[in-house]
């Protein structure tokens, strides 16, 4: 199997740093929070200061603490949803691609149906029927979000599986007499790892958006702090129009940053899967290092084979120049 190292472009590194930062915040955020996020002990609507880094809400709650505590719910639900959706899309996608025939028809129809139904409105309908105590349950919310977000991954995985189905190593496994399930999950699935990773990140991205949206319109329990609930209270108290930017801008920026980080890492995976994008994504300095022309000429998008070979090419380029 090829080495799974991501291309070391600045985009990927920045993405990994951002995602890493928020994962740390998820783990230790609630301990770092200086105050109880629900405590109304302070004066309302304080501007940011040394005591309250991001000021207070109209109820006198510390916004910085809400941001730190809210990271956990937001990220945990998103990761749960991403995990559940990836398992679903892997099962459906690989089965459809590998089995073919009527099973493929049925499973493809199923994923296309879920792809065509607009996810967030469906989520809103399901969620509005949920009893209030389930709305604060991470697992319930995560599962429901995954139900509306798995289809895209299944489609991509199906296409990839179909291209793998008739490779020699799969053929060999079939001849040896391995069971179908075993072939699908131990022979085919590992070769789909980059696609799986990409679809997982994409789903997490979607899940953050979906969860925050549900919270923003007041459909998750207000007892659980997440970035969407913060936006909900800010909107409910007219913070945007009265200029209390410190109330609604920080959670929004956090959501956007996590999303950007995930998307940047995904870029790296895309460049890993598609060698042409890899060359397109190089900076001019890297291109010089590789001995490629400074401006890529038309019809000559170089295919860079793997990151590990890059140093070898660079060394050769140096030799030539000497």
């Amino acid at each position: 199997m090829k080495s799974l190292r991501l291309p070391r472009s600045p985009k990927v590194i920045i993405g990994l740093v951002i995602v890493g930062f928020f994962i740390i915040m998820t783990v230790i955020g609630p301990w770092l929070a200086p105050y109880n996020p629900s405590s109304t002990a302070f004066a309302p609507l304080l501007s940011p200061s040394a005591h309250h880094w991001l000021g207070t809400t109209s109820l006198g709650q510390d916004i910085f603490s809400q941001l730190l505590v809210g990271a956990r719910a937001t990220m945990v639900v998103a990761l749960l949803a991403g995990l559940a959706a990836t398992i679903l899309s892997m099962t459906v996608g690989i089965a459809a691609g590998y089995l073919g025939g009527a099973s493929d028809e049925g499973l493809t129809l199923l994923s296309n149906v879920f792809l065509a139904i607009p996810g967030v409105p469906l989520l809103i309908v399901i969620d509005s029927y949920l009893p209030v105590n389930s709305r604060s349950n991470f697992f319930v919310i995560g599962l429901i979000i995954s139900l509306t977000g798995w289809a895209w991954g299944a489609r991509v995985l199906r296409a990839q599986t179909m291209s793998l189905r008739n490779r020699d190593f799969v053929e060999a496994a079939r001849i040896i007499g391995e069971k179908r399930g075993r072939i699908m999950f131990t022979e085919v699935a590992p070769n789909l790892l980059p696609v799986l990773a990409s679809s997982f990140l994409f789903t997490v991205l979607y899940a953050i958006g979906a969860y925050v949206t549900l919270a923003y319109i007041g459909l998750t329990s207000t007892a659980v702090w997440n970035w969407g609930t913060m936006l909900y209270w800010a909107q409910a108290n007219n913070a945007p129009l009265s200029g209390e930017w410190y109330w609604f801008v920080p959670p929004g920026i956090c959501i956007a940053l996590v999303g950007t980080g995930l998307a940047l890492v995904n870029f790296g995976i895309d460049e890993f899967i598609n060698p042409r994008l890899r060359a397109g994504g190089l900076t001019s300095r890297q291109r010089r290092k590789l001995g490629l022309p400074r401006r890529i000429r038309l019809g000559l998008t170089p295919v860079i084979i793997s990151t590990s070979k890059r140093s070898a090419v660079a060394a050769r380029a140096k030799l030539v120049s000497q």
Partner: protein, 324 residues
Amino acid sequence: MLARRLVLYIVTAWVAITANFLLPRLMPGNPIQTLIGKITGTVTPNEIRAIRLSFGLGFHQGLIAQYFTYLTQLLHGNFGVSITLGAPVSSILRQTVPWTLGLIGLATIFSFAIGTFGGALLGWTRGSRLDALIPTATFFQAVPYFFLATVMLLLFGSDLHWFPVLGAYSQTVTPGWNFSYISSVIRYGELPLIAIVLSSLAGWMLGMRNMMITMIGEDFVLMAVAKGLPRRKVIWHAARNAILPSIANLSLAIGLVVSGALLVELVFNYPGVGDLLLQAVLNEDYPLIQGIFLVITLAVLAANFLADIVYLWLDPRTRTVAAV
């Protein structure tokens, strides 16, 4: 191909309708009974009857019979009666849908056109300084629509007063086919439109850029250069082919754009379906929530079907397959 897609959309519509029927019955706590208990006394017995009918609960029937009652009611356009507004859901929707259709429809067309054009350019000039736009575009893609809308409302609406905000037209004009009303509608629509376009632009752009880079490596582009075609024509050659997957992916994108855009209405108090949906959710107005969900789903499916027709028209290969 078109027939297959049509079958898919019909099945999807059926799944959505059936989900709408089953959800209130499967959920713990029997929400319909709670609902009817809550509104008894506040609305007339006739309206309660209409609500029960629209849920398929008209008579003491089994589940299958209830399902058919429900389907019949839907076919007759009876989505039930809104609990809070006291009016039939269908007539409420008739007032709100045009606003949403205009706003989101226009925004989607704009963002697709601008994004595809920009993406083709980015793909063509890959590796140049323009690549610096990619992280910015990624950031805009990750921002929730409603958050970007909120920030724009604050900046350009209430701080700088560049755009009028809140509502779809000025309170001082009378609705109708007169100039002051129409220009007011356009003025009030500008900022929500820009917000939706900005939020959805990046997705089209990044997708198109990647496809463009892949296309540029193809032989036919090299051939076009070798023939000595002017550069603009070569770009057009590559772009025309790169655009196809973009259109093929519309089904995923339209759903996402519509979902995001509905919340933009909410931020701007735009009197469309999104704003209505929030009111319905807050008041636990189930008939209204369900009616809105169905209308959104059907609209998205129709948009998908339109995209399929465009795809067929643009890609001759699919036509030959269809003929065989």
